[in-house]
């Protein structure tokens, strides 16, 4: 007879608890003594539960009864002697601090890679195979929505609108997008967005009267239009939808079994990631604008110039949250606060054009 395991026997027919003792007897036979009763079973007939930390576990007998014990090490020895060693590698992993530390480091790296590169790349590839026309109704709804809330009919003279439309057509042609119909729309937004431009899917660009009035020359206007065409060319609205879907799904998986309060707090890191993606889109659109301006021989300074003027149009303290214009950022230098904004710092954006501008002119 080998060592005896101490535990409690539950017969499976009732909730009665009986102090019990389990021993290996002879070859591969378990003998269980529970009070007056005694059961024996071949080792191959019982089910030994996998070990989980030091939580108590059960040995299930073929008659429906179960032996519950906290003596995990003794059960491990029992399992080892019989060669029934399933799950021991999992147990080894879960208790080896070296393996756990390695897993933690790998997980942190994987998370960084997925959020920084994986999701944007996946969204980019998926957006490329979806025809732009599927976003027609979304764009139309958005336009109807902002028309209702913040836009009025344009007061620009028709001749001026035609001039700008022609500029726009040249930029669109240069962007080489063969499967969309593009048009520019003019709106007045005096009390709301002010000088600004928006890109809506599949390919509508809205230019406000205030932007046209704020621009000191057509080069500045073309720069902003080229930036918006960049958003269209790289399908940012579709990619944003796909990325947000991925994020929602991943965070749903990660917080699936959390409590109600922590679930609301988990939204914060997801929001920071979304803002990070938005800034990457702005950089991509800026890069398109810069490339176009260089090719079309437009002075690169025009873009930072109008950005700065637009920024000044919005007094800093009044620009908060959703009131902020799409092209504005009220912080001059790179700082911690940049993580909370939809656009890169203007100084960073200007530097892209300033360096190139020096060479290009």
């Amino acid at each position: 007879m080998s060592e005896a395991l101490q535990g409690i026997w539950y017969d499976g027919n009732s909730s009665r608890a009986v102090t019990a003792e389990l021993q290996v007897s002879g070859i591969e036979t378990l003998v269980l003594k529970a009070g007056e009763a005694q059961y024996s079973a071949a080792l191959s007939e019982v089910t030994v539960a996998a070990r989980l930390g030091n939580s108590p576990r059960r040995i299930d007998f073929p008659n429906g009864g179960a032996f519950e014990t906290s003596d995990n090490d003794a059960v491990d020895r029992l399992v080892l002697t019989t060669g029934n060693s399933s799950h021991t590698w999992l147990r080894r992993f879960e208790t080896s601090w070296r393996l756990l530390a390695a897993a933690a480091v790998i997980l942190a790296m994987v998370a960084w890679g997925v959020f920084q590169h994986g999701i944007p790349a996946a969204a980019k590839n998926m957006a490329a195979i979806i025809p732009p026309a599927v976003l027609e109704s979304l764009g139309a709804q958005t336009l109807a929505g902002i028309d209702r809330v913040g836009l009025d009919e344009t007061r620009l003279p028709a001749a001026r609108r035609v001039e700008i439309s022609n500029q726009f057509d040249i930029v669109v042609a240069a962007a080489a997008m063969n499967d969309v119909d593009c048009r520019v729309e003019f709106r007045s937004a005096k009390a709301t967005f002010g000088p600004n431009a928006f890109a809506l899917p599949p390919c509508v660009i809205i230019v406000t009267d205030e932007l046209v009035e704020l621009a000191q020359n057509d080069a500045e206007l073309t720069a902003v239009i080229a930036h918006e065409v960049g958003h269209i060319k790289y399908r940012h609205s579709l990619r944003r939808i796909i990325q947000d879907t991925f994020l929602t799904f991943i965070f749903m998986l990660m917080t699936g079994d959390s409590t109600q309060i922590s679930a609301t707090l988990a939204a914060a890191p997801a929001l920071l990631l979304e803002l990070g993606y938005a800034r990457d889109f702005e950089r991509e659109a800026d890069a398109f604008a810069a490339a176009y301006m260089r090719a079309a021989d437009i002075p690169l300074r025009a873009f930072p110039d109008i950005l700065e003027r637009m920024e000044r149009w919005y007094p800093k303290d009044e620009c908060t949250g959703e009131d902020c214009p799409a092209l504005d950022i009220s912080d001059d230098g790179a700082s911690f606060l940049d993580y909370f904004s939809t656009h890169p710092a203007t100084s960073e954006r200007a530097s892209m054009f300033a360096v190139d501008g020096g060479l290009g002119k």
Partner: protein
């Protein structure tokens, strides 16, 4: 009253009146130990592109169940991970379908929303059946016998009353849902009972409902109305200004966002007081109302203590960049267990098993995939 000893127990068993014992729930899990299980779960889930998540779920729950003891005996969880995996795959497929369809066609999204709404009671019943049938204590299984029509009434029809009552009936609806769940649970052959008036539940929810209505809904409506008016007047003044660029937007002192800002901030603060208050009160009420056989429960959670635990956990999670989540979960489980006692008449040996029907009905695992949280 003195501590009951063995002699008392034996005497109580033999004599005419059974003795009353209070038996505490004990959580024996350890943060460090659970950390290993937790990170291994995530690591293998990532490595297998999510397939392992079903096994991870079982190991997670099993650790918490097995670490919870009552009267020296431990709970256990018996679900088959393959069943959970199947359910999750179906749920993921539906989620992707839903996301794609609702982005592309609002009407298609609406149709799917209606389908999902009709399926909710069914999913809830399935999830509860799955969870309870796979939970055991002293080698006896729990069970859930709730009907689909009952769930339909409590989870689909009753919530419709929220609309005419402007949300005020929400605490009462929650009370009915909890009553539906508890009164359909059984342990072995013994059905659980639920006795308790709805009024305390209603009172527990009043602060939360008031915060939602007065702190969020009313100010939001106010802002919307003001914005509408501001836009109308701005349009009018723009006519007068006639094309001239107005640098300073007038009427900033009447900016409704700025006006309502402090109220929103206060409402958020009040929300994080009212929510824990509601959670704690209803948890206590739930266990007070529950009985099984001649046994009753007592839950003595306190709102501020609970908030302390939540805040502590929040700091742990933030300052460990998430790696402290297992410790936080163990701390919460310990607090939940130590505030819960069973008021036991006689002993716990008298429950009898129900013949186990082969519970293999389609969709139980599907319900589990939607992760409806059930506290024990």
């Amino acid at each position: 009253m003195s501590e009951p000893n063995d002699a008392d127990l034996i005497a109580g068993d033999a004599a005419e009146s059974p003795s009353i014992n209070t038996i505490p729930f004990v959580f024996e899990g350890k943060g460090g130990e659970y950390f290993g299980i937790w990170i291994t779960n995530i690591f293998l889930t990532v490595l297998t592109l999510g397939i392992y998540s079903a096994w991870a779920k079982v190991r997670n729950l099993r650790y918490f169940y097995r670490s919870t003891s009552l009267d020296g005996a431990h709970f256990d969880f018996h679900a088959n991970p393959v069943a959970i995996l199947k359910g999750r795959l179906i749920a993921v497929a539906f989620f992707i379908l839903f996301a794609v369809v609702s982005e592309l066609s609002p009407i298609g999204g609406l149709v799917l929303t209606v389908v999902l709404a009709l399926a909710i009671p069914w999913i809830i019943v399935r999830a509860l059946k799955f969870r309870f049938a796979n939970t055991s204590y002293r080698n006896l299984r729990f069970g859930f016998d709730g009907s689909y029509s009952g769930a339909m009434k409590e989870y689909l029809l009753m919530p419709l009353l929220l609309i005419p009552s402007l949300g005020l009936l929400w605490p009462y609806i929650r009370y009915r849902q909890q009553r539906y769940i508890v009164s359909n649970v059984r342990y072995g052959r013994s059905k659980a009972g639920f006795t308790g008036p709805w009024i305390p539940w209603f009172i527990a929810g009043v602060p939360l409902v008031l915060v939602a209505l007065l702190g969020f809904a009313v100010p939001a409506i106010y802002v919307a109305i003001k914005l509408q008016a501001a836009l109308a007047s701005a349009a009018a003044s723009a006519e007068e200004a006639d094309g001239q660029v107005v640098i300073n937007t007038d009427g900033m002192e009447a900016d409704p966002f700025a006006e309502m800002g402090p109220i929103f901030v206060l409402a958020i603060l009040a929300f994080y007081l009212a929510l824990p208050y509601y959670i704690v009160k209803t948890r206590n009420l739930l266990f007070e109302a529950t009985s099984i056989g001649a046994h009753h429960f007592e839950s003595t959670m306190r709102t501020f203590k609970y908030m302390g635990v939540v805040l502590l956990n929040l700091f742990i999670v933030i300052f460990t960049f998430g790696f402290g989540i297992p410790l936080a979960k163990v701390i919460m489980a310990k607090y939940k267990a130590e505030t819960l006692t069973l008021i036991c008449e006689g002993d716990l040996d008298q429950f009898v098993a129900q013949e186990q029907e082969a519970v293999k009905a389609l969709g139980e695992e599907l319900g589990e995939a939607f992760d409806i949280d059930i506290d024990i």
